[in-house]
Structure formats: structure tokens, C-alpha cells
């Protein structure tokens, strides 16, 4: 890739800014509450954008464009079904308990509502997960820098060995994230997330405009692509008549209910952003405000993927053209998407039907290189780098909070001074990032281990929402019930996975490692159903065990359970500031979008 000084200027300005914000915020970071919860003083709109951006790491951007190219506009289900309803639910119904209970983290809420063991289970699995996620972010970023040859030219000029590019990518991103979190804590992370939100729009929106102009708008896309790509609901009646390979029930229950509510309502990474809000009303509006850009994001992240496959293939791939081995294989790709290449021989990899496998993850980078001249290219790359780093930072801030409050303060050292915990927060940021670097190298060495770990996390996460739902809305739920429910949910997920396989896969990390009872039409369908099984098992076991164990005193559950908590007062507020109206607007708009792209 050819970058000129103008691109480097833009990137440099951005990095100076990121660090500058940290330096300015350092003066305001005096207590552990400042560091871990941004002093609970952030206005609703800032929390809302951070809530959205914490989830919008570069893997999400690149991955959604990749899915757009692979599955078409049906990818928007991950937004319209798989996010919006859950975001509305967490804002309207759950935030009163998260914010109102004064818990400082999601595991701490579990401690208040249930007991110590449920908190420990959640805290430890969550902390481990954040480390791996931030490591994977780091790995993906270094890999992208390598694939796009961003640093090749500077390395040549400085006479450095190009094999060090990957290491420099890992270490440099770690150092930047470390610096700004150490300085400003969660506030720094939130501010950078907001910055990144605007950067992503600034970098990708013109790409979509140029792309749409080129292919003749949405109607041009519908003419060029087969109908499967441009309809989100048509064909959802059966798993075999749509590109996702999922039927509507699995989609609505698995993605729309279990996975989506499990993520948006219980994952501390996003909930932490709302806990930093300056008031109960702001905390409740945080996810609702986030939902507005969220429902429009498919146009920015999914459309580039669709445009990339709709375009006629260029004579050769932009990304790969600059490698030493020129590849005469562009014709094997589709549109701008090049095929995956066999390492060594550089021949396209074929699937079992003899068709080339496409490297969908290159959709966004290919689009950037295809349309953007130098200048805008710098901005587009900066946006991608920014979102990698804020994805990392989001995980690291969630990690240092859970580590310090839920593990260190609870089990290792109680009753120390606030300054000590602030110090611990900074220390845990350092070793959290150190561990992420290890995870990044693990990802580059042992891909299979990473796949397995992600699978285990999926098993652990799937049942979570059942526990929260029962905990918040059924006062009879007990700690033993919650704990055993979670364990059996995880077990059910593992068993479902052990006995089913997606079509065409071999038993192993894809499932079926104990035998094959059922074959799903796609991996996605299998994932959704794993989640449904986990949730159901957790739900039933929690109820049964709760009924068999002694309930807690109702006095202790005030502020933690719906029926025992007074509704947050909002009479003297302007109607447009009330969460209820915002929720209605968000839901109606989402339904309209679904009909437009039916």
C-alpha cells in the first residue's frame, strides 16, 4: 500500500490527541471511583456513544462487512434483532437495579442479589474473557498492519527487518492503550470511544457514499446481486432458503433473545459505560441513546461488504498486489473480495465443492484501497486503528475494575485505603495489558487454542441472562439456585455442542466430539441453538433449586428486585428526556427498518 506524508500526518495527529486527552484527564483522576467509574459523572449522550463504541471494535467493523459480503443484508439481524430489543430492555428494566443498587460492577450486583460464589464465578470467567478479547484485538490489529503493508515503507527506510512489523504492531498498540488508561482510567477510555465513534463514521461514511454512487444506489445493488443478498426476512421460513442457514425461530430465540440479551444486559464491558453516567435517568437513557446510531450502523458497516461483492472484479487485488508474489488469482475472487490463499504456494484455497474460499475479512480494507485517494485513506486507516485500540481499552478497563473490586478487594485484601485500590487499578492495567500481549502471541501461534477458548466462553455466557432475569424479576430466586443454574446452563451448552454438528464439518472444535445426534444446516444455527439449550437449562434448574432452598429476607432485596423496588421518579422531566418515550421511538424505528429491507 502506498501511503504518503498526508496520511502519516493524519495518523500522527490522532495519536497525539489520544495521549493528550489522557494527560489532561490525569488531573481529575484522584479516587478509585474516578478511575473505575469515571466519577459517575458522565452525561448520558457521552455514555451512550461509549456504550455503542465499546462493542464496535475493529473486529466488529471488519467482521460485519465480511458477513455483509458473505450473507448479504440479512447480517443486519445482528443489529435489529440481535441488539436493539436488548438495549431497550437493559435501559428500561435493568438499569434501575444496576445503577440504583450502587453496585460498581456486574459481578458485584450478583454478590448483592445472590451470594459470594455466584459473584466469584462470574468475576473470574469475565476477567479471563476480557484478557483474551483484548489479546485477540491486539493480534488482529498487528495482523492487519502486516497484511496491508502499512509499515513496510517506513521499515525499509529505517533499514529495519520487516519481520518485526508484527511485534512492533503489538507493542505499539499496547503502549498507547496502556498510557491513556493509566492516565485517565475509565474516563479516558470512554472519551476515546466517543472519539472513535465519530472517526468510524468520518472514515466509512464517504466510502459507502462513493460505493453506492458507483453501483447505482440500493436499486443498483438489488439489480446486480441475487435476491438472497438484499432481503433480510424473505426466506427466513426455513434454514435452507436463506443465506444465514437459520430458520426464524432459531434466529429470534437464539440470537434475538438469548445471545443478544445475554450480551447487552449482562456484559460488564458495556454495562460499565452506563454505570459511569451522572444520574439514574442518564444511566437508563445510555443504552437507548446508543440504540439510535446502532440501528443505522448496518448502513455503514454492512453495506461496504455488499458493495464489495457487487463490483466487477479489478484486474488484480489491491491488497495482494503489493506483495512480492504477484497473484494471478483475482479472477477466482468475487467482486473486490480476493480468495484465501494457501500459505507457501499462493494458490487459492478451495472448499469441498471446488469453489475458491473467499477472504471476506478483506472487504473493508479492499474498499478503502479501491475508493480512497491518499488523504482520505489516512483517515480511513486511522479510524480502523482507533477502533482496534478502543476495543482493547474497553476490555482492559472492564478487567481492571472487576479484578480490583471483585477479586482483589473481595478475596485478597479487604479494607485497604481508597488510594491503595486506585494504585491496584493502575497495576492491574499494566499486568492486564501484559497478559493481553501473551494472549495475542498465543493467538498467532495456536489458532486452535483460541477457537477452543472462545467456545468455552460461549458456553459460560449463554445461560447468564436466565440468571439475571430470574434474579431481577422473581424475588424467590436464591443464590444456590443461581449458581447451580449457571453451572448446568454451561454444561447443557457443552453437551449440545458435543452432540451436534454443522453441515459438512468434521467432529472436533466445531462440535460433535461425543457423537452426532443432529446436523444443523449452518454453524450459526448450531450456535443459536446451543444458546437456547443453555438458557433453558439454566432457567429451569435455577427455578427448581430456588424452590428447594431457603429464600432471602425480602428486606435485604430492596433495590435489587423489581417487585420490591420503587420505580425511578421522572414526573418533573421533559417528555423527550424520559426513557419510556425514547424506547418507543427506538422500537418503532427498528420495526420500520425491518419492513423496508424485508
Amino acid at each position: 500500500m502506498q501511503l504518503t506524508s498526508i496520511d502519516w500526518i493524519i495518523m500522527t495527529v490522532y495519536f497525539v490527541f489520544v495521549l493528550g486527552i489522557g494527560v489532561v484527564l490525569k488531573r481529575h483522576t484522584r479516587t478509585s471511583t474516578d478511575f473505575f467509574l469515571a466519577g459517575r459523572s458522565i452525561p448520558a449522550w457521552v455514555c451512550g456513544l461509549a456504550f455503542l463504541s465499546a462493542n464496535l471494535g475493529a473486529q466488529e467493523v471488519i467482521g460485519m462487512a465480511a458477513s455483509g459480503a458473505k450473507y448479504g443484508i440479512a447480517t443486519s439481524h445482528f443489529y435489529w434483532i440481535g441488539a436493539i430489543p436488548a438495549m431497550v430492555f437493559v435501559g428500561i428494566f435493568m438499569m434501575p437495579f444496576y445503577y440504583g443498587s450502587r453496585a460498581r460492577s456486574v459481578p458485584e450486583y450478583l454478590r448483592l442479589r445472590f451470594d459470594e460464589k455466584t459473584r466469584a464465578l462470574n468475576a473470574i470467567s469475565f476477567a479471563t474473557m476480557t484478557i483474551f478479547s483484548s489479546g485477540i484485538s491486539m493480534y488482529a490489529m498487528a495482523k492487519l498492519i502486516q497484511t496491508l503493508h502499512i509499515l513496510d515503507d517506513p521499515f525499509r527506510r529505517l533499514g529495519l527487518d520487516p519481520s518485526w512489523i508484527f511485534h512492533v504492531g503489538v507493542v505499539a498498540s499496547a503502549a498507547v492503550v496502556l498510557a491513556y488508561i493509566l492516565l485517565g482510567g475509565l474516563t479516558s477510555a470512554i472519551y476515546n470511544e466517543v472519539l472513535q465513534f465519530f472517526l468510524i463514521i468520518a472514515g466509512l461514511f464517504p466510502l459507502v457514499l462513493l460505493g453506492l454512487k458507483n453501483v447505482g444506489g440500493w436499486h443498483g445493488l438489488t439489480r446486480t446481486l441475487s435476491p438472497g443478498y438484499v432481503h433480510s426476512w424473505a426466506g427466513m421460513g426455513s434454514a435452507h432458503t436463506n443465506r444465514l442457514g437459520v430458520e426464524w425461530f432459531g434466529l429470534a430465540m437464539g440470537l434475538g433473545f438469548v445471545l443478544s440479551f445475554g450480551y447487552w444486559c449482562t456484559d460488564f464491558l458495556v454495562v460499565q459505560r452506563a454505570m459511569a453516567a451522572d444520574s439514574m435517568n442518564s444511566a437508563r437513557r445510555t443504552p437507548l441513546i446508543a440504540a439510535v446510531p446502532k440501528m443505522l450502523f448496518p448502513f455503514i458497516v454492512i453495506l461496504p461488504g455488499l458493495i464489495a461483492i457487487a463490483l466487477p472484479a479489478p484486474p488484480q487485488s489491491n491488497v495482494l498486489a503489493s506483495t512480492q508474489a504477484m497473484v494471478p488469482a483475482a479472477s477466482a475472487g468475487m467482486g473486490l473480495i480476493p480468495p484465501k490463499l494457501e500459505p507457501g504456494t499462493n494458490r487459492p484455497l478451495l472448499d469441498k465443492n471446488g469453489n475458491p474460499q473467499l477472504d471476506y475479512d478483506l472487504a473493508i480494507p479492499q474498499m478503502l484501497l479501491h475508493y480512497f485517494p491518499t488523504g482520505m485513506l489516512g483517515l480511513g486507516l486511522t479510524a480502523l486503528l482507533a477502533s482496534f485500540m478502543s476495543g482493547m481499552a474497553g476490555n482492559v478497563t472492564a478487567f481492571n475494575t472487576v479484578w480490583t473490586y471483585d477479586i482483589y478487594q473481595s478475596y485478597l485484601r479487604r479494607g485497604a485505603s481508597d488510594q491503595h485500590y486506585l494504585w491496584m487499578g493502575r497495576m492491574s492495567t499494566v499486568f492486564g495489558i501484559g497478559l493481553s500481549i501473551l494472549a495475542a502471541y498465543m493467538a498467532s501461534r495456536f489458532n486452535n487454542i483460541m477457537d477452543m477458548l472462545q467456545l468455552v466462553f460461549a458456553f459460560v455466557n449463554a445461560p447468564l441472562f436466565a440468571t439475571f432475569l430470574l434474579g431481577m424479576f422473581w424475588k424467590r430466586t436464591t443464590g444456590h439456585g443461581a449458581f447451580l443454574g449457571l453451572l448446568s446452563g454451561t454444561f447443557a451448552a457443552a453437551m449440545h455442542h458435543a452432540f451436534t454438528l454443522p453441515e459438512g464439518a468434521i467432529p472436533g472444535v466445531k462440535g460433535g466430539w461425543l457423537g452426532n445426534v443432529h446436523t444443523y444446516p449452518s454453524e450459526m444455527a448450531q450456535n443459536f441453538w446451543t444458546a437456547i439449550f443453555a438458557w433453558t437449562a439454566c432457567f429451569i434448574v435455577t427455578i427448581v433449586i430456588s424452590l428447594a432452598t431457603r429464600p432471602r429476607d425480602q428486606e435485604e432485596l430492596k433495590g435489587l428486585v423489581y417487585s420490591l423496588t420503587p420505580r425511578p421518579a421522572q414526573e418533573n422531566m421533559k417528555w423527550y428526556l424520559k426513557p419510556g418515550w425514547l424506547a418507543v421511538f427506538v422500537l418503532v424505528a427498528t420495526v420500520v427498518l425491518n419492513f423496508i429491507f424485508w
Binding site: H28, R40, R111, F198, P373, M376, Q409
Partner: protein
């Protein structure tokens, strides 16, 4: 909070806007073949510049009474939450 986020956003996007606009105005037309003949640097540079300036204006207006009123009642309540013990 000590720093209104709109100020850094405003400054950053104003800078980006200026850099892209100036570069776009001075650069060779041949550069824009790939962007369908549109001088995207100039056009988008102007958009970013305007956005940056609006953000700067909003950020500087913060001290006005309307906002102050909205947030004034909150800090004491927020402060109190720090005192919650871990167990």
C-alpha cells in the same frame, strides 16, 4: 467532568478538516480517478471542518445556565455512591 469531550472532538476534527481541505484543494486531479472523479479530500474535508467547528462551539457554550441547571443537582448524589463499602 473536568474536560468537555466536545472540545477535543472539535479540535481534532477541525484539524482533520483543515488538513484534508487544503490538501484536496492543492492536489492533482489525477489522484481522484479512483474516487469516481470526485475530489473526496476537499469535499469531506469541508464536512469534517464544519463538524469540528460546531463541536467547538457547543463545547464552549457549556458554561451557560441551561446545562448547569441540568447537572447541578447530581454531583452530591453521585459523590455519595463512592462511600459504599465492598461488602
Amino acid at each position: 467532568m473536568g474536560l468537555d469531550i466536545r472540545l477535543p472532538i472539535g479540535v481534532l476534527f477541525t484539524l482533520f478538516g483543515i488538513v484534508l481541505t487544503v490538501f484536496g484543494a492543492l492536489s492533482n486531479r489525477a489522484l481522484y480517478e479512483r474516487s469516481l472523479g470526485i475530489n473526496i479530500n476537499l469535499m469531506w474535508g469541508i464536512v469534517l471542518l464544519l463538524f469540528g467547528l460546531v463541536m467547538l462551539m457547543l463545547g464552549r457554550k457549556r458554561a451557560l445556565p441551561k446545562d448547569a441547571e441540568e447537572t447541578a443537582s447530581l454531583p452530591p448524589q453521585a459523590r455519595e455512591k463512592q462511600k459504599v463499602a465492598s461488602n
